[in-house]
């Protein structure tokens, strides 16, 4: 009986693991639309036709006869989730990364577009993580660092900042926890410290 119960649990686990829930990155190839949830998504202007990493945009979203363009430029990733009415487009300009929430039905940007100085953006399941980053003017100088920001994503409302998770991710990546901007000596080392 116990064996059957374990077997059923294992079967249930693997079925769920094979059915991805939450956000996942759309994979784009040149000149071809990517289909997801009854919509097709196409990014124009790849940087290289064989293995694109950035697109000039726009992002075209279509279903049936209807189509619209989201005016996003220098796009590096688009994330979509089943049953969510928006996709997340990650773009950059200069040293800033932008995270846009694009309504699938209209291509309009909703809520605030997040702007960040970041080492990268991770969208996994229903969490958006903007990684912390640092820049220094010399190898022996303190770095000007931006904290991580972690948001909980939901279908119907604006992302909610998770301060504890943000602080934890900042501490995990940089060695010190803070919110916003900080001058940090020796970030990413055991000697990391906030400089006041």
């Amino acid at each position: 009986m116990k064996f059957i119960s374990l077997l059923l649990s294992a079967l249930l686990y693997f079925t769920l693991a094979e059915s991805p829930d939450g956000f996942q990155a759309l994979v784009f190839s040149d000149q071809q639309a990517t289909r997801f949830g009854g919509y097709s998504f196409r990014l124009a202007g790849p940087d290289q036709p064989d293995k694109p990493t950035t697109w000039q945009g726009p992002l075209t979203i279509a279903t049936g006869e209807k189509s619209c363009d989201a005016s996003v430029s220098l796009v590096t990733a688009v994330y979509a989730a089943q049953d969510f009415p928006y996709v997340i487009a990650v773009t950059y300009s200069g040293s800033s990364t932008h995270v846009h929430f694009v309504t699938i039905a209209t291509c309009a940007t909703q809520w605030t577009t997040y702007k960040a100085f970041t080492d990268g953006v991770d969208v996994h399941d229903n969490r958006l993580s903007i990684l912390p980053a640092c820049e220094s003017s010399a190898s022996d100088a303190a770095s000007q660092c931006s904290s991580a920001r972690v948001y909980q994503l939901s279908k119907d409302s604006a992302p909610v900042i998770l301060r504890k998770a943000s602080l934890q991710l900042t501490r995990e990546k940089l060695g010190v926890g803070f919110w916003g901007q900080a001058m940090v000596s020796n970030p990413r080392t055991p000697q990391a410290a906030i400089v006041h």
Binding site: D47, T54, Q56, S73, L74, T76, T91, Y92, S93, G94, S95, S96, T97, F117, T118, D119, G120, L131, A133, E135, S136, S137, Q144, S146, Q181
Partner: protein, 145 residues
């Protein structure tokens, strides 16, 4: 009559410096520009926003657009393009090469969270809202030691 041999050498020196420094600074725009400048005998200090200020003051000379920036790079000057931002701006090294859309010059740059770009027009560094606001400054290379 300009000395064409010297001009070509200056252009190539700049590209060579970009190639030498790229791997070490491909994720750091200001570090890349500082390193390339240092290799060429020109001092730039600070982060990207500081560098944008520096290239707008003597002994640097500014030019108003990418077409003229390309012309100075083609003539063998060290040309830096940059745009201030909060909290961090962005800077690139303009090199001799084609213009995109007739106005965006070719450059090398590092970029945080990425690997920067080599020998690529700057419409891949800044988006359509920012790329026409880029500030360009140029300076003559000091003679080789």
């Amino acid at each position: 009559m300009p000395d064409t041999t010297t001009e070509i050498t200056a252009q190539q020196r700049i590209i060579n410096a970009c190639e030498v420094e790229f791997n070490a600074h491909d994720n750091d725009c200001s570090g890349f520009v500082r390193a390339v400048s240092r290799d060429l005998g020109v001092t730039l200090t600070g982060l990207a926003n500081d560098i944008v200020d520096e290239i707008q003051a003597a002994p640097w000379t500014t030019v108003p657009n990418g077409v003229q920036a390309k012309a100075q790079a083609d003539s063998g000057f060290l040309v830096i393009g940059g745009l201030k931002d909060d909290p961090h701006g962005h800077v690139v090294v303009i090199v001799t090469g084609p213009l995109a859309a007739g106005k965006y010059p070719t450059a090398y740059w590092g970029r945080l969270g990425s690997i920067g770009k080599k020998n690529t027009t700057i419409n891949w560094a800044w988006n359509s809202q920012d790329r026409d606001k880029v500030i360009y400054g140029y300076i003559a290379l000091p003679p080789q030691q």
